[in-house]
């Protein structure tokens, strides 16, 4: 494995918020109709990390969600599954049991999610526990407190250490952009995460508002673009939290397409962290097929 060095980290470019807002508004004027809508909605479904991250999570709840992950809407055959389920480390083993014959991956949050306020050894133990229990992907949180006090090398080293603890599991690094406040910080944190070895960068835990705004996702996608242009290495992106409608999801895909290109338009490189998005996408898919909207009661909640 190649060593990641803080000294390799380049200066992050400045970000003009007004300019970003304008750029994002332009993506939102893209009109996605007919065949591109059909194809786009299926891609969205297949990019979802179906998530439950609650204190009250139980094996029963996880089991039901895992079933839904593989059977989104069996009354309408031919639909893709979601990309992964996302659970706490203590739930990974139960999910593993349910998904052992499935292509649906298991992602687990770790590193004292969502606050990240724990000692390093606890975070590493947390990560190893999840990987040992069968997690394919680890969603870690960065230490925002350290970041905001300017201890960038600490943040960098921590990510590199967790990456090592992940072994073969892919690492998603959650920046919790709602706590970083400025787009300049979002860009800086993205660069730190990418250069420290993140396989994916992810906006939010879902516990803090605002979460995955298009402005934030845009800023992170540009960081991925610059890294790819610099090194030829692809990094994935996962906006999480706040994307609950098909329209917004499709506009996210438009951004990915126009910034990174079609190569990123699959669940290997792009994910949505969401729980309520799937049903809205299902409703839209059935609307495009049948021409009528169906009642939300026809779509299951798990």
């Amino acid at each position: 494995m190649k060593p990641f060095l803080f000294s390799k980290l380049p200066d992050s470019p400045t970000i003009d918020k007004v300019g970003v807002e304008e750029r994002v508004a332009r993506f939102q004027t893209r009109s996605i109709k007919n065949e591109s809508k059909r194809q786009g909605l299926r891609m969205v479904l297949n990019m979802i990390d179906l998530t439950t991250l609650e204190g009250k999570d139980t094996p029963g709840k996880v089991k039901q969600m895992c079933y839904k992950a593989q059977h989104l809407h069996d009354l309408y055959p031919g639909l893709p599954t979601v990309a992964a389920v996302c659970v706490y480390p203590s739930m990974v083993a139960f999910a593993k049991k349910e998904l052992k014959n499935s292509s649906v991956k298991i992602a687990s949050v770790s590193t004292a999610f969502p606050s990240g306020q724990a000692p390093m050894d606890v975070k590493i133990t947390d990560t190893k526990f999840a990987v040992d229990a069968g997690a394919d992907e680890i969603d870690m949180v960065i230490s925002r407190g350290k970041f905001l006090t300017g201890e960038y090398n600490f943040v960098f080293d921590e990510i590199a250490a967790i990456k090592e603890a992940c072994g073969n599991a892919r690492l998603k690094v959650i920046l919790e952009t709602g706590e970083l406040a400025t787009l300049d910080n979002v860009r800086k944190a993205s660069d730190i995460a990418i250069y420290a070895g993140a396989d994916f960068i992810k906006t939010s835990t879902g516990k803090i508002q605002p979460a995955a705004t298009m402005q934030v996702t845009y800023t992170m996608l540009m960081a991925i673009r610059d890294y790819f242009d610099e090194t030829g290495i692809m990094v994935g992106m996962k906006p999480a939290g706040g994307i609950s409608t098909s329209k917004l999801a499709l506009h996210n895909l438009v951004m990915v397409k126009e910034i990174l290109g079609d190569a990123w338009l699959n669940n290997q490189w792009f994910r949505f962290g969401a729980s309520s998005l799937a049903n809205d996408v299902l409703m839209q898919i059935l609307k495009t097929e049948t021409g009528i909207y169906q009642s939300p009661d026809y779509f299951t909640i798990d």
């Binding site: 109709k33 809508k37 290997q268």
Partner: protein
Amino acid sequence: MAKEKNNESWEYAPSLESTAHIQLKEKYDLFIDGKWVKPKSGKYFKSINPANEEVLAEVAHANESDVNLAVKAARKAYTNVWSKMAPTERAKYIYRIARLMHERAREFAVIETLDAGKTIRESRDVDVPLACNHFFYYAGWADKLEYAFPNRKFESLGVAGQIIPWNFPLLMAAWKIAPALATGNTVVLKPAETTPLTALKLAEIIEESGLPAGVVNIVTGYGDTGAAIVNHPDVNKIAFTGSTAVGKIIQKSIAGTHKKATLELGGKSANIIFDDAPIDQAVEGIVNGIFFNQGHVCCAGSRLFVQENVADKVIRKLKQRMESLYVGNPLDKNTDIGAINSKEQLEVINKFIQIGKNEGAEMYQTKCNLPKKGYYCSPTIFTNVAQSNVIAQEEIFGPVLTVQTFRTVDEVIQKANNSPYGLAAGVWTDKGSRIFNLTTKLRAGVVWANTYNKFDPTSPFGGYKESGFGREGGMHGLSGYVKLND
């Protein structure tokens, strides 16, 4: 992480704006004295859709006698009605025109796109809303003019002859008509020969609004029609937007007369990127600066100056961004760059592209498939350009950018000002003090900081040097239509 194979591509399906709801007549006469009258010339010309070369309508070609009638009607309306009307009443008419335009915004947007070749995204989101807002804005000024000219005595001028270009047909009509009416003048307006249709639709709205006959007259035609307006002895004011060459002819013709003039002419505006600029947003600003409306913008940021230490990065990112621009059918909502306004203009642009190549500048054009029919031009940039290249000096008025590098602030100020034009400029830097330093030293009517091509009815617009004189928009836009006494 290995580079993954691209497993599927995702294309945008065509998403065409409907044309079913628009109403266009086959033949348009002249709008004089509140009525549609046949041209004395007996001649009509065709207005075509530059996106597919189909004829949209036939339009009257006004000659000198037609212009005489229009000026006569405008004078009569000025003397008998409009100059005597209470300002609050004038305001109501202007406001009504704005409301009616607003209600038919979609129809205006589609017709503008058909007639001018500009994208529906721009005509829908920029041209038409801004045009409505100009009427709304100046309606507000009509009864508050004493606040625009405090402690001054002022009066309206009389008949304003207005000649507008083809790049923003409806918007330019609004820029001209709204302040003229608000200050109590009457109008004879000539739209450009390639794009007369939205002005004629505006005439229909003016008719519907009940504006007293003769207050606004629309005469369509070519350069000879414009010359008849300029040379008419009973016209008090000429407002012209167009090329510097024609501007010079106009200024010569009205020399020695009492006619007041506002000229808004060409430009070769500098867009300046410093090394500390927000680079990705600056790249977006470059794109908006030069490719907005196919580059048919008098204030287009057509001369790009990039600080040499970031030039490679900026140019690489610019090329990347250009590849995501969609060129094609202007009616498609996803089209970023539409059709060139006319065959003549396409020839001009192609001539300059050839000159650029002959001069040895390095050309880059996006790899897009242009439609077979209609007039199109791929977004084009020339790098390795010097100040002495012809393509860096002359206004091309198309989607063609020249890129030059610079080292220091003083150098770029000198180069940016080293042009007979002085319409606009853009400055991109993270440093506030540098912005103020440049804005005071750049000899340009408009200087944008960390943005480009932003327009608002409240903001004055106009040029330095051969880019013209007088200001349009904002409170300043009122001055061109009043005579100040003592």
